[in-house]
Each structure stands twice: as C-alpha cells, then as structure tokens.
Amino acid sequence: MQAIKQTSPYVRKQVSTKRMMIDVLIALIPVVVFSIYRFGWDAVIRILVSLILMIGLEALIFGMMQKVKKTDKTFKERLKTKYSTYTINNVTAPAISAIIFAMLMPSKIPVYAVAVGAIFAIVVVKMMFGGLGANIFNVAAAGRRFVSLALTGMFAGVYVGMDMVAGATPLTALKSGMGFPAVLNSYPIIDLITGNIPGTMGEISAIAILIGLIYLIIRRTADYRIVVSTFVTFTLLITLIGLKLYPAQWFEFVLYNIFSGGLLFGVAFMVTDPVTAPVTRPGRWLYGLLIGSLIVLIRTFGAYAEGVAAGLLFANMFVPLIDYAKWSTNKIRPRFVIGYVALFIIMALIVYFGVGGTVL
C-alpha cells in the first residue's frame, strides 16, 4: 500500500467550474433559439464567427502564455507541454462570452464588425489580463462597447423588425425620435415582451431571457443578489422619472423601459458574471446598485439610448475599490445598510433634479 501526502480537508464537494459554465450555456439556449428563429442565417453566421474566433484565439494565446520544458525537443512535445493544463473551461468560458457578445449585436451588422469586436474582446480584454478568471472587465460588454465606439457607422440601419425592414429600436425611438408616450403606438408593451421589435439578437425576447435567468438562479450559478439589486435600483429610479415626467402614464413608462433595450439580457447574463463581480455579499448588493443607477443615468442623460454595457463596464472599475481588503467583509453590517440606502438616495436625488425636479 502506497500512502499519499495530502492536507485537510480530504473530501470535496461535487461541484465544478465546468458545471457552472455549462449551466450558463444551457441558460442561453432559449435566447439563441429565439434569435435564430427570428433572424435565421444572419444569426447563425454571426454566432459562429464569434464562437470560432473567441475559442480559437483563446486556445492560441493560452498556448503562447505557457512555458515549455527544457527536455521537450520536438514541436509535438512542446505543444503537449503547453496544452497540458488546457481544460474544458478554456472552451466553455470563451464560448459563453462569444454567444453573449453575438447576442448583443444587431442581426444585419457586417460580419466584419462582429469579428473585430470578438477579437478585441478575447485578446485585449480577456487574455491580456491573464485569461480565465483574471479579466477585470466583462468580456462581451467590452467587445460590444468597442465595436459601437470604433465602428459607429456600421450600425446605421442594422436593426430590423419582424418584417425585416430596418427601424429604430424602442430605446432610440424614445431617445431621439417620437418620444414618450407616442412610442407606445409603434411599440406596444406586449410586442416588447414577446420580441416583436427591432433590436439586437439577444435582447428582444423577454420571455426567452427570463427562462434562462430562472434556470441560472435555481441552479445557483448566478448570484441573485446582483440581479435583484440591479433590477430593483433600475426600476425604482425609472419609476421616479416616470412619476415626474409622465404622471398619467408612469406605469407604462416603467414597463417600456424594463422590456426595451438590453436591460433584461444584461441583468440575466452579464452582471451575473462572477469573474468581474465583487466577492462579498455587501459588495454584490452595492455592485448591483451601481450598475442599476448607472444604466438609468446613461439612458436618461447620456448620449446613448442604451446603457447596460457601459454601465456594467463602469461598475467593473469600482470592483477593486469595493473589494479592498481594509473594508471588504461578508457580514451585512448596519453601516453597510446605511451606506447602501444613502447611496440610493443620492442617486435618486441626482435623477430627480436631472429630470427637472425642484424642491417643492
């Protein structure tokens, strides 16, 4: 009998990173299926391009990051050493990023733009920071933001509706076109929920997204704290705006904002990315508050109609601050609750005065 040296504990739980990654892929199925149903080959091609580029480039750069042993003589041996720690997670993780990234793209965008965004996301945002688990920005959101900043011109007339005729997304319509409540005539709430609107491939069907979100939360692969915190903050602040600007139709305004744009998709699949989130309970509540209020601020006062990706990236920058060793703790302390409420009130005041509120 050969005895092995180990240190306690000697038993491990039956969970794995692999399982968590595959859970996210499963949760994405309804969204992907719906986008293929809506956009056909346009969607398939863009998803495939994104998948191939992200998985392939991650594998390539992964190999470049590893050291070879001196004893490895032939190319084959060197390759074997380099990829000895390459696991299924190096495939599933970029696959998740790739699908989410593709879902953030409009269906008629040139494939070139998808390729550029995917390459930027995986090379600069992920692998340059050290690969799996080391990136500080959400990979898909950063890729999306890069494309819309660098290739703005390509986004003209790429959003198509059910009739395959180019149109404005509900949020662009709200921002620059008709304004509220006229948009309700073109985009009834029921169409927003079922996905009968122009928009990016993933964001349009609220039902498909919610199925995925429920699966993620039941499997505990996503932390409900971030989801709840982001969603509640967003809803409350939007309600405040609705009550101030459209007192008669505030409820429709709130629903319109929730179901249009990438909010639901972002809440379900992007803010729940654990790699770029803080690691403590209070930290995650705070992180959700930041994302939620930043989305409202960008949507209401910013130049863009859509704010999920930018808000998320901005909140990512605060994660090292939230997680700073001196004050990060997993206990929900009174001072955290006070700080959370205070921050929410500040955000509410900013929004309130921003939309023209006055002190009585």
């Binding site: 180990q6 240190t7 990173t17 399982r19 997670n89």
Partner: protein, 431 residues
C-alpha cells in the same frame, strides 16, 4: 454553486450499523513518551518490571503542565520502539507486553457516593490531573486547567455535536453509556460550581435526545438540559455551538470561562466520571476504521493498541494498487499520516482510508462560494490572492488569523483550489 454550503454528506449511517468488536488480544501495547502538546517526557518503570492497569508509567511534560501516562493492560515492560502517534509524528514509545490477565492496580477502587459528596473543587482538579485527562474531542488540552478556573461559571456544556463526517465515537457513547456522560457532567458542574448543565446534540439525533432525557430521570435535583443545535458543519466548533445552545456570544481568542461557560466533549465527561468514581484513567476508546479504501469496522480497543492490528482484523485494505490517503480524525480537519504503524492515543477516534483522487486546480473565477460558506466571515479567495503576492498588510487586514481551518473553503471550491492550505500559509506568513 454561488451559495452558502452548510451541510456535507456525513456517511455516518452505515458506520452506526457496524457491530463494535471489543479487541483485547493485542500482544504489545505502545505508550508514546511525548505528544504534540508535550515535547518532553520521562518514564519511571524499568524493563522487565511488571505493571498493572492504572499504574503510572511516566510523565509527559508540556509548556505549563505535566501529564502522567498510565498502563492500560497488565504485563511486562519490554523497552522502547518508535511509532507514529495521533499528530502524525514519529515518537518514542514505551512497550508493555500484555499478559492478558487485565489485573487492576491495587489503587483502583471505587469511591462511594459519600466520598464523592465530600470532594472539594481542589480535590476534583487533583483527581483529573492525576488521571491525566485531556480533551478527548481532539484538542488534547488538559482538562484540569479548564476546571481550576477562578472565574464564576454559570453553565457547563457537554459538546456532543461531532459535526465531522465519518465520526461516530461520541454518538455511540451517548447511545450506549448516557448515564456515565450525565454523571461526568454532574461532577464537572460540582467541580466548577456551575448551577446549570447543558448537553448539546445535533437536531437530527432524536434517538439520542430521547435516550438522554430518559436517563436524566434518574438524576433528580440537577439542572441539566438536553439542547438540540443545528445539523450543519462546523456546528461542533465550540464558539458556534455555545452561541446556539446557550446564547452566549464569545469573541475568538477569548477564554470561555471569562464568559461563565465551560465546554467539555462528552467523551471527556465520561473520562471524568471514570476518574472520579472508579479512579481509572482513560483505558479504552471506540475506534472506527472507515473510508472507501479499507474494509470498514468499529472497535473498542485499549489505549496503546497498534492500529495496524485493527486494520488487519477488519479485513485489510481494498484495491491495494490504488494509492491511499490515511487520515487520523475526521475528513475535514484530521491529520494525514504516511505510515500505518499508528498507536492509539487518548484522542484517537477514527482512521479514514481514502483512495487517492487526483484533483486538478483550475483558476479562481471569483464565484465566492468560499466567502459565503466561511463560518468566521473572512474572504478566503482574497486571502489567497494576497498570499500569492506575499502582501502581509493585506493578510492582516483580511484577518487571516481568524481562520479556524475547518476546511469548508476547499470543500466548496468549484475550481478545486486548496484554499485551506493557503489560509495556513497565510497565517504562517503574518506570524
């Protein structure tokens, strides 16, 4: 899984059903001269001398206490040999050849109830000290030091939680000898002047609760209560258990007695009973051999028995070709040993033999399952990052010293990162 993990599969059901073999046929018994707490020791017997059960063989010397060692069989002193003790170290052992007559030393006579009633606090401390009693839950902390506290004690707690998987020593003790545990608790209450006694057990052990409550009917006039606490791990950690059982919050690093609480393992209380009533030191313990790499069996064996003999008696190892991990104690916090010529000591309760499983560590994805599960509310993943860059200030700010090494962070990690080992290294770095 981004969630707090509280329950771990405990595998106790199968072990509870095993018959308990009383093993008295050991030819040679080994008595370690030193132990983890006592780096020095001396013997006071010569080779060829005949000793009887309960006779003092020598003394182990610790930093601030001395601890006598007793013979658990009658027979001839043979000499010295090296063997592995509970802490996994190779130590010198005194060997006694068993004559299998089990003659008691003339000093071992029962005390009458009148004699016990007349005992003062100092007498109790002296008896416990003479018997060499230590914390049998695994700490091996000398019990008399706990008892001789000057603080006012409000409650004595018997810890019968035994939250680690695969351990059933306390369970079967409470099942089979509840009176001895209760009697020991009464003596401990008498010695410390505490008006109240509490036996803390797991909530799911309804059969134990009924058994203890039934036995308590014989002991009227004592304020003893059976309190059920949670089933989760690490409920047996004394601060968590005390908070749950009697509602006293004690900060880490403080003496329990300052808060009016004394905590003993149920096995320790039984040994107090034996020492006070029968003048016996710890002679026997229940020892379980479990795990998927060995034929499982339960034994009642004398302190000093070679565990190798018990393994052979149980049927030996399974799947010899697979490398094994040998663990003394529980699978979460136990000690790893590399040899199986282990000597049973006071704190031995179990040997677990697991077939080796090769785990591949993946990068941390910050899921924070370890942070959510940590019973002392520290952040293992951040401590790991701080340790990797040898950042002592960050380690201090993250309070790595609070870690109780319960092993939950490693247990829950989906990336199979050995976080507990990082916690230990971090503690060493800031020391």
């Amino acid at each position: 899984m981004i969630a707090k993990t509280k329950y771990i599969p405990d595998g106790k059901k199968e072990l509870k059903e095993l018959p308990i073999l009383h093993y008295l046929d050991a030819d040679f018994l080994f008595y370690p001269v030193t132990s983890a707490r006592c780096p020095e020791g001396e013997t006071c017997v010569r080779g060829g001398q005949f000793v009887k059960i309960g006779e003092v063989l020598g003394t182990r010397k610790g930093a601030f206490f001395e601890q006598p060692m007793h013979s658990t069989v009658s027979g001839e002193v043979k000499g010295y040999e090296k063997s592995v003790d509970q802490s996994g170290n190779v130590v010198d052992c005194l060997i006694v050849k068993n004559d299998k007559k089990y003659n008691l030393h003339p000093s071992i006579i029962d005390r009458t109830n009148e004699e016990i009633d007349a005992l003062t606090k100092e007498d109790f401390v002296e008896i416990v000290k003479e018997a060499g009693l230590v914390g049998l839950g695994g700490s091996a902390f000398p019990s008399y030091i706990k008892l001789q506290t000057k603080d006012k004690i409000n409650v004595v707690i018997a810890n019968g939680v035994e939250c680690e998987p695969y351990l059933i020593a306390d369970y079967s003790l409470m099942m089979n000898q509840p009176q001895e545990v209760i009697q020991g608790l009464i003596y401990a209450m008498k010695a410390s002047g505490a008006p109240k006694g509490v036996i803390a057990i797991k909530k799911k052990y309804t059969e134990i609760r009924e058994r203890l409550n039934f036995s308590l009917k014989q002991f009227t006039g004592h304020n003893i209560e059976v309190i059920t606490v949670g089933n989760h791990y690490p409920q047996g950690w004394e601060l968590d258990m005390i908070n749950r059982a009697v509602g006293v919050k004690i900060p880490q690093g403080e003496l329990l007695s300052k808060y009016g609480v004394l905590n003993f393992n149920v096995s320790t209380l039984q040994s107090i009973y034996n020492a006070v009533k029968k003048r016996l030191p710890v002679l026997e313990r229940l020892f379980t051999i479990s795990g998927n790499g060995v034929h499982n069996s339960s034994f009642r064996a004398r302190i000093g028995t070679q565990i190798q003999e018990l393994i052979e008696l149980a049927g030996g190892y399974k799947d010899i070709e697979i490398p094994k991990v040998l663990i003394l104690g529980g699978p979460m916090m136990g000690t790893n040993v590399l040899r199986d010529d282990i000597v049973m000591t006071h704190t031995s309760t179990s040997l677990i033999v697991l077939n080796e499983e090769i785990l591949i560590e993946e990068p941390c994805i910050h899921c924070a399952a370890c942070v959510y599960s940590c019973p002392v509310d520290i952040q293992p993943t951040q401590i790991m990052s701080a340790y990797k860059v040898k950042d002592k200030d960050a380690l201090k700010m993250l309070e790595v010293n609070k870690c109780i090494e319960c092993g939950l962070c490693s247990f829950v990690c989906p990336s199979k990162i050995h976080l507990t080992e990082y916690m230990r290294s971090g503690k060493r770095l800031v020391r």
